[in-house]
């Protein structure tokens, strides 16, 4: 019997698990995919927004402002990257300037650091701002993260501290009887948390008619390769419109640039295909930024926002089902809000139900070795200890064999090529895995004692090998 079961290993589920794992509670997480952060948490703009955008009185506003202030500390705790690079919101006409003023007033009222800049001043800091920009709102507390790194690391630390994580375990049935929830006729729990992203309403419906609806909105993105001279140094937003924050230019932790997203409602919750949305992104991004080297595009992807029909987060205990907690409709600014949401769910909704105490022997995760971040002396020390730290398997991102092995051989380590790619980056570079994928294939096979036919790119059904040579003749 679990005290708390969480459905979904995205940013919400993992940070709630991480927060709760500090207490002497028995916790389980159920995730239908083979790895964590596979939904909206793995494909988004990777920004910790300052909290200037959501309208007053919403949960989005409340948690975004708090979450932004917590994020740096969280990343220090998890020993993962966080960069406070700031953001510009750029107006290009009188009407947009009015909206900009509203945002400015809103930011000030929330004690968010902000400043209005004339284009001349803004251009000094961002020389590639479009000539059409007429006024800029600077938001220096805007941050960037690698979203899946935060999710995976939080879940890893929760796991080290006793949280059971069931991957590739889709929740298909839910039962409620005598104050106990039963998942898939097998796992019992006192408290149930629905953090299933775009599927949160479907999970709810396993128990009862759902009082909110999720219509995913798709966003498509481009990624640019590392550039000799960065196009921009901070997040560049247009003035927000009806469809959200608009098309952004976002530097990433690893010195790439994201361009996107568009915003289109879609019918299927597993539709992460890319289509003409990319044309829209290309056409709109130049409104705020010039000199974008589109010939440096190395990857495209699409993510789904779990947008609810009330246009706000749904974070509450169910009115009818006791101890059933909804963490749903966590669309943007969900990522930025997530530490505050986790803290709220833990402190206000879950802990009061138990007589629990902080663990005395809480264990910190061991961060991954990142050779690129070390000095020459430190690198050579590492290679002395283990020569495979000098054996580069990914020539684009300069990743060593030992770093790949570290990503595999650890709690909730990588079990697939994509898992390795997201943890330590081979395949994230210009060749997109063309050179390194067969090498990663071999390392996975050896480290996990797999047969050729068992090595997967991602989850079930994504085996790389279709047949051995000559097998079909």
């Amino acid at each position: 019997m679990y005290d708390v079961a969480i459905i979904g290993a995205g940013i919400s589920g993992s940070l709630i698990a991480h927060e709760l794992s500090k207490y002497d509670l028995k916790i389980a997480v159920f995730e239908k995919e083979a790895d964590m952060a596979q939904g909206a948490s793995g494909a988004n703009s990777a920004i910790v927004h300052s909290g200037h955008d959501p309208i007053d009185g919403t949960l989005k506003a409340k948690f975004n402002v708090l979450g932004n202030r917590m994020f740096k500390g969280l990343c220090e705790e998890l020993q993962v990257a966080y960069k406070e690079i700031g953001a510009f919101v750029c107006a290009t006409n009188k009407q947009e300037e009015e909206t900009l003023m509203t945002l400015y007033e809103r930011a000030k009222s929330r004690d968010i650091k902000c400043e209005l800049l004339e284009p001349s001043k803004a251009l000094e800091l961002e020389p590639n701002l479009s000539d059409d920009v007429t006024k800029v709102l600077s938001l220096p507390t805007t941050g960037i993260i690698t979203p899946w790194e935060v999710v995976i690391s939080a879940m890893e630390e929760a796991n080290i501290n006793g949280t059971d994580v069931f991957l590739e375990t889709e929740v298909k049935t839910l039962e409620y009887k005598d104050g106990i929830y039963t998942i898939n006729e097998q796992y019992q729990t006192k408290v149930l948390i629905d953090a299933a992203g775009v599927y949160a309403d479907d999970i709810y419906r396993l128990l009862a008619p759902c009082d909110y609806d999720i219509t995913p909105r798709k966003g498509e993105y481009f990624i640019l390769d590392h550039l000799k001279h960065n196009v921009v140094n901070r997040v560049i937003y247009p003035v927000p419109g009806k469809k959200g924050k608009g098309v952004l230019v976002v530097p990433t932790i690893h010195n790439n640039i994201l361009l996107g997203p568009n915003s289109d409602p879609i019918d299927y919750k597993d539709d992460i295909s890319t289509s003409n949305g990319l044309d829209y992104v290309k056409a709109n991004v130049t409104k705020t930024v010039k000199n974008i080297p589109f010939n440096k595009i190395i990857h495209t992807y699409a993510g789904l926002r779990p947008s609810g029909n009330y246009h706000d987060f749904v974070i509450k205990e169910d009115d009818d089902y006791k101890n059933f907690i909804h963490v749903a409709c966590i669309e943007s600014p969900g990522l930025a809000s997530s530490p505050a949401i986790a803290k709220y769910v833990c402190d206000e909704l879950v802990l009061p139900k138990f007589e629990s105490h902080l663990k005395e022997n809480y264990i910190r995760r061991t961060p991954l070795t990142i050779m690129n971040n070390l000095s020459l002396e430190e690198k050579n020390q590492k290679i002395k200890e283990n020569p495979e730290f000098g054996e580069i398997v990914c020539r684009c991102e300069k990743i060593s064999k030992a770093e790949v092995k570290e990503a595999i051989n650890r709690p909730l380590g990588a079990t697939s090529i994509k898992g390795v790619k997201r943890r330590v980056r081979p395949g994230m570079g210009a060749c997109q895995g063309g050179f390194c994928e067969p090498l990663i294939f071999k390392i996975l096979k050896e480290e996990l004692n797999l047969k050729d036919e068992e090595v997967k790119y991602d989850g079930q059904g994504s085996e790389v090998m279709k047949a051995k040579a000559k097998e079909l003749l």
């Binding site: 990624i223 000098g390 063309g434 790119y457």
Partner: protein, 407 residues
């Protein structure tokens, strides 16, 4: 810090012959940096025949071709640092190299960048649709098959008629896969004529010219592709879309020179890195050859270019000899690019490609003091042209020289 006269980055066709070119012209201190545990580069996964017709007058497999060069390196005891990766190069030619022995800095008098090319990916061509397993660049599928014995698909479709794709159509057929067809966006093939014949026609694999893949379908595994015809402006003709079931899509949509190691230096770039007739970039002592400079269709030409660059490196090291740049190559009508882009009055071999198909035409080399035409039955973008002009021919010209096609 170790000091070496010539450091060659990459032990493939260009790098190996570059070492021999330098050695035969007096350079003793040579080091080849190779990331694999063998030299040969991509040749090692090219187990098909067809290499060496120009150089050795015989048809060799990729590994056999590489071995001929390796034997000469071995005989001359040229130092090769295996399983090593150049992390960075500075403008004063200090290389940072990673290997199992640690990070080592080496100061070079000259550097020959012979790091080959990378394949264009689905993202580069904005391939649309789901993102399933089963979409591979042809070279990656080739490595899986020829090195590891793994077929990445049973029912294969190929986008792009580049040579690697054509070679893979045959290879995958011979290894048991069914290759359903090859789509080419252009109205002509981008592969060598002999590969069209030997890899497609001999196996009854259809080539769909003026076609492209508009969507990939399936998740987690590729289930089908959407194929469509394009008009003369390369725009998709909507009512020609058809679904073809397959579990693998190979992309053979071109190669890009891998010059990423010098990208961050202040090296002058046009469509390619700008080099003079000694294959030296705008940074003194940094030379390029082979696919790292521009994409070749025959390895024999890679080897000869590598050799010439190696010779130039030797002269640079010995006498500090550099080209005294007097002329620029001007890309005229019908021409895609020209190497070298700048040159002096010595013998110069110009390599270039046309940007469309020409029948019964003339290559026109024109400038103040030169006006030369060469008759051609046909010119195609998939075949690189090489023209050598002697110093006698070049000594009369003033200013720049234009190469164009007269049809």
């Amino acid at each position: 810090m170790r000091e070496i006269d010539l450091v060659i980055i990459g032990g493939g066709a260009a790098g190996m012959s570059g070492a021999l070119g330098a050695l035969n012209n007096g350079t003793q201190s040579i080091l080849i940096i190779e990331k694999e545990s063998d030299v040969g580069g991509i040749l090692n996964q090219c187990i098909h025949n067809g290499f060496g017709l120009h150089t050795f007058k015989e048809e060799l497999s990729g590994p056999s071709y590489a071995e001929k060069y390796y034997n000469q390196l071995d005989l001359n005891k040229i130092e090769i640092k295996y399983e090593s990766q150049v992390i960075s190069i500075s403008e004063d030619k200090i290389l940072l190299i990673s290997s199992k022995d640690g990070y080592e800095e080496i100061k070079a008098k000259a550097i020959l960048l012979a790091s080959g090319s990378k394949e264009r990916t689905g993202a580069v061509i904005s391939l649309k649709g789901d993102r399933p397993i089963g979409v591979y660049t042809a070279g990656t599928a080739q490595k899986y098959l020829n090195i590891d014995g793994i077929l990445v698909g049973k029912k294969v479709f190929i986008l792009g008629s580049g040579d690697i794709g054509l070679i893979m159509a045959r290879r995958m057929t011979l290894e048991g896969a069914k290759v359903l067809g090859v789509a080419e966006l252009m109205p002509y093939s981008n592969g060598l004529a002999r590969n069209i014949k030997q890899c497609l026609e001999d196996f009854d694999i259809p080539l769909h010219l003026s076609h492209t893949v508009t969507r990939v379908i399936g998740y987690p595994r590729l289930k089908a592709i959407e194929l469509a015809k394009v008009d003369e402006n390369r725009q998709v003709i909507e009512d020609t879309k058809q679904i073809i079931e397959c579990d693998c899509l190979l992309l053979s949509v071109g190669l890009i020179p891998d010059d990423s190691l010098i990208e961050d230096l202040n090296v002058k770039m046009a469509k390619n890195v700008i080099v003079d007739n000694n294959y030296m970039s705008s940074i003194s002592g940094i030379f390029l050859a082979g696919n790292a400079l521009h994409i070749h269709d025959l390895v024999d030409f890679v080897s000869s270019e590598g050799y010439e660059a190696g010779v130039a490196c030797a002269h640079y090291i010995k006498d500090n000899k550099v080209a005294e740049i007097k002329h620029h190559s001007i890309v005229g009508d019908g021409i895609g690019y020209i190497i070298p882009q700048v040159f002096d009055d010595s013998d110069v071999t110009f390599s270039f490609r046309v940007n469309r198909i020409f029948k019964k035409c003339k290559i026109h080399i024109v400038g103040d003091g030169i006006d030369k035409t060469i008759n051609k039955l046909s010119l195609v973008p998939s075949e690189m042209e090489r023209i050598k002009l002697t110093k006698e021919e070049l000594s009369n010209i003033k200013g720049d020289l234009k190469i164009e096609v007269l049809s």
